[in-house]
Symmetry: C2
Subunit: 269 residues, 2 copies
Amino acid sequence: VQPTTPQPVKSHLSFQERSQLANCNKMAQKLFRLMSEKKSNLAVAADLTTKAEVLKLADAIGSEIVVLKTHVDIISDYDEDFVKQLKALSEKHKFLIFEDRKFADIGNTVKYQYQSGVYKISEWSDMVTVHAVAGPGIIDSFKDSVLQKECGLLMLAQMSSKGSLCVGEYTQQVVEMAKQNQDCVMGFICQERLSNMPEHFVLMTPGVQLNNTADTLGQQYNTPDYIVQEKSTDVIIVGRGIYQSQDPKSEAHKYRTIAWDSYEKRLSK
Amino acid sequence: VQPTTPQPVKSHLSFQERSQLANCNKMAQKLFRLMSEKKSNLAVAADLTTKAEVLKLADAIGSEIVVLKTHVDIISDYDEDFVKQLKALSEKHKFLIFEDRKFADIGNTVKYQYQSGVYKISEWSDMVTVHAVAGPGIIDSFKDSVLQKECGLLMLAQMSSKGSLCVGEYTQQVVEMAKQNQDCVMGFICQERLSNMPEHFVLMTPGVQLNNTADTLGQQYNTPDYIVQEKSTDVIIVGRGIYQSQDPKSEAHKYRTIAWDSYEKRLSK
């Protein structure tokens, strides 16, 4: 017998209400509250390759966003000063820092990749992404330090890239793994809300642009309104649509307004 | 109709013969030749957290191995001098450098993670690991620079950790993706040879120890003889069994001898 695939469903609860459901996970709760207070469900992917560019972007758009998503391993002049400055900006503008590391190794290795090395990600990131492909040991490896540092894990349940294997039964196993570790897993990276995803998890969706098209390397885009209203995920992650624009600040404001309106429309239906 | 799962099969061709089949991939060919010449099918995972420890290990065991596997992102004092010294050791002892990065993002991001940032992996690694989870765009993103740098991609077809989702249909899709990109994909990280894996691919297996047990974070171990003779993969990757021993040099020699004997027994059957 084939397992029944859960259907997409809409969430009609407010972020405020969901923050109360998210007692099990401090970072999910913190993000739900921040979204309610700031009236923003916008995350920006700062996929830039120098300290100065990332910091300039973060300062310009900080007041519009709830989360800044980084790939510190593409920054050529990364150093501890970068982290210090980024932290200061996150406090100034009240956003959370999300290192999109996509951990995908066995537990013993991931433990070191998270805590040690040049980046010491555990010391400054509020949330990090984890692939389920290596099995549940990868979560066990984080558990102690995640709980201690109050960092949230985001598990990749679906990806925005063409031909991804993160689908069907794989997605279901990710959701199960997250449910069994809800103290450290704060939510999912996904393309839609599925009926078996409890509302205490935050759903974040990359591959969002107002001008929905595709790049030449398999990335596929959807619009903010489609993702938040139709697909019922919570946070849109916008990269090139904002950081490649002439005026990132006003572009971020535009995305923020559309994404928040879409969320309010979803609630009222 | 369910697809038929390919069965495990043995390879009875020598590495010398397979180097001739591997015309399609320069790094696979190079590794097959090196194994024949050096009479070694041992790779060591240097999962140590300082430059000095990794370099000391590489110098001690370099003559026994064909591949040194690194995780540069767990080395706390990593710098360009480390790469220079490691390169010098790889030439002195004739081994290849395998950065086990487990790339697992969309193509546009992976391109930067491979070429840029602090590590500039493309400048010094002979081979790197890639997860298929994000879809074939991840391979497209490497293609140009991989072919230019003569680097080989190793795709994760199976993992040694408990509860891995890298199984069944997922594994089959990885094999198909590799076949369609055999100019840059040199082989697989796997636990067994499957009948649909052509012999020009190199098969490498982690999670190998003489004392087969498990760790507390989901890693499961098999013996060298079981992996090479019964499961018919080519290169054993040994980590803690060697670098945590009192005498890594003589322990590496022991593993090398057993793994090579197992390979010769497989050929003679």
